[in-house]
């Protein structure tokens, strides 16, 4: 059985997602020892370490506000469901370009027997925020599964899941109304959550990756201390400065700070 990682990266005027993906590919090679395929809209100009590149059409979801840029940024991230057809492998790890692989912890996910896995819960690495708003969506707080890290095996179940995500994306206005989602912008996380619920008999009983998706919000400062070692500076609720060291995988939700790390490698 072949295994590899797939990273979707479509650059916009503010964010060089391809550079992030290339930096991530090095980490993936080092920790997980699996090939990496980049999914992007044109062949990368810069030298890269990707094992393969798949060219895809970036479907535009409109603009999305990024607090670290204090700007609305063009959002080309709506074709995650194409992972099933674009992946050259039997087993695929789909990662966001801003997911930092700092350990081999995802190797346990690759050893699991499920056809599809993703995280149910994200958690603030500083422990300051409960993420009550981020782990649910819509006015009635539908539980949300995260598309940041997904593992799938080529199977009927996984194919149905990605087909369902496409159906949901193509009828987003309907699903947005159904779940009373105040945010008009399509999100892969929401489509994934709706599809998982549907395919599991509307029971919300979904096998997830054990543990939580460690996440770092843009309002904290992220710097790199060493290979696989990162420092997070933040203010406590009573405005006292604190910092922690992160040596595990995490989701860097602030693209600007991760971009600076990628642009200035150790």
């Amino acid at each position: 059985m072949t295994t590899g990682a797939l990273i979707f990266a479509f650059n916009n005027e503010q964010i060089d997602y391809v550079a992030m993906a290339n930096w991530s590919a090095k980490n993936i090679h080092r920790h997980l020892d699996i090939p990496v395929c980049l999914v992007t809209d044109k062949e990368p100009i810069q030298p890269h370490v990707f094992d393969s590149v798949a060219i895809a059409n970036p479907v535009n979801a409109g603009q999305r506000y990024f607090s670290d840029y204090n700007a609305n940024v063009m959002w080309h991230n709506t074709n995650r469901m194409d992972a099933y057809t674009l992946s050259p492998w039997d087993q695929t790890l789909v990662l966001d370009a801003d997911y930092v692989v700092a350990s081999d912890q995802l190797s346990t996910v690759l050893k699991s027997r499920q056809d599809f896995l993703c995280y149910r819960w994200a958690q603030d690495v500083t422990g300051l925020q409960t993420f009550e708003d981020l782990n649910y969506f819509g006015n009635h707080r539908m539980p949300m599964w995260w598309a940041t890290v997904m593992m799938f095996r080529r199977s009927t179940a996984a194919e149905l899941l990605f087909d369902s995500m496409q159906m949901i994306r193509d009828n987003w206005t309907h699903y947005r109304n159904l779940y009373k989602n105040p945010n008009p912008t399509y999100r892969n996380d929401h489509a994934l959550s709706i599809a998982l619920n549907t395919l599991n008999g509307h029971t919300l009983k979904v096998d997830g990756i054990p543990g939580t998706l460690a996440s770092l919000t843009p309002d904290h400062r992220l710097t790199q201390l060493d290979v696989d070692s990162y420092r997070v500076d933040f203010l406590t609720s009573d405005k006292k400065p604190r910092w922690i060291t992160v040596t595990q995988d995490f989701h860097a939700m602030g693209k600007q700070q991760l971009g600076a790390i990628v642009a200035n490698p150790l």
Binding site: H140, M142, G201
Partner: protein, 257 residues
């Protein structure tokens, strides 16, 4: 009341000026029959109703005592050796007959805690302040099992005493209700008799899906106008989520059909 069958569901339903509990009971009985066509289902009422959906129609042995105070009569009125008493304003959204196996080793089981429609334990204590202030067990009489036993007899004798002597019993509570609700009376009786005798350990027994506004964080009191619900016949989905067990729909005039 003579015993007519080993197991059955009992639904007390006494109409008020504003609510037809017998209509609610008929809907509940029909929802149970969709899953369990041969189930014994009795209605306890002095009102007229469609008898065809019920196996037994039983009159209140001590007459209509008014509102919640009728509840203590259920023990004497049930025609079953093992009874699951159900509040009328619920529907069965899934099979429930496996509960008998869970219950039959106990004399009395009152459901404890409740869920939201995402099947998550409800965290709001908005409707349970009296329970919290008085350290009462978090029981919901909406699902109550008993078998003919001394424990059940003692429990319902206590329930009768508390209802009929409320002015005395309420002095035991901080912030008591003027008119005792069944849940509060059951909780007091459970506390006196020993919660371990009449409840299952937390998280083990069945719980109702509670559709009151502060449990499910809807903007209005009428969730049926705010959430999308689907009759999957049999079954019910709320905001696309399939429900299981009993859904306490709260809006008494809501009908699936």
């Amino acid at each position: 009341m003579p015993i007519l069958s080993e197991r059955g569901y009992l639904i007390p339903a006494v109409n008020t000026d504003t609510v037809s509990y017998t209509d609610c009971a008929e809907q509940l009985a029909m929802s149970i029959r969709q899953w369990h066509p041969n189930a014994n289902i009795a209605i306890l009422t002095n009102d007229r109703c469609d008898w065809s959906v019920f196996t037994h129609v039983i009159e209140l042995p001590h007459g209509d005592q008014g509102g919640y105070a009728n509840d203590w009569q259920v023990f004497r009125a049930s025609p079953y050796r093992q009874t699951i008493k159900l509040e009328a304003d619920m529907i069965a959204a899934s099979p429930i007959d496996h509960w008998w196996t869970m219950f039959e080793k106990r004399d009395v089981v009152i459901s404890t805690g409740c869920r939201d429609f995402y099947d998550q334990p409800a965290t709001s204590r908005y409707y349970r302040r009296l329970f919290d202030e008085n350290n009462l067990p978090d029981v919901y009489n909406a699902i109550t099992y008993w078998r003919l036993s001394k424990t059940a007899q003692d429990f319902f004798s206590l329930v009768e005493k508390i209802f009929t002597n409320w002015n005395s019993y309420k002095t035991l509570l901080q912030f008591p209700e003027e008119i005792p609700s069944t849940d509060v009376v059951y909780a007091m009786a459970a506390l006196i008799i020993g919660p371990e005798l009449v409840t299952l350990p937390a998280g083990l027994g069945p719980t109702i899906v509670h559709m009151k506004q502060h449990m499910i964080a809807t903007h209005t009191d009428n969730w049926t106008q705010e959430l999308v619900w689907e009759n999957t016949n049999p079954g019910l989905r709320i905001n696309t989520v399939a429900q299981h067990g009993f859904v306490h729909y709260h809006n008494k005039d809501w009908r699936l059909q």
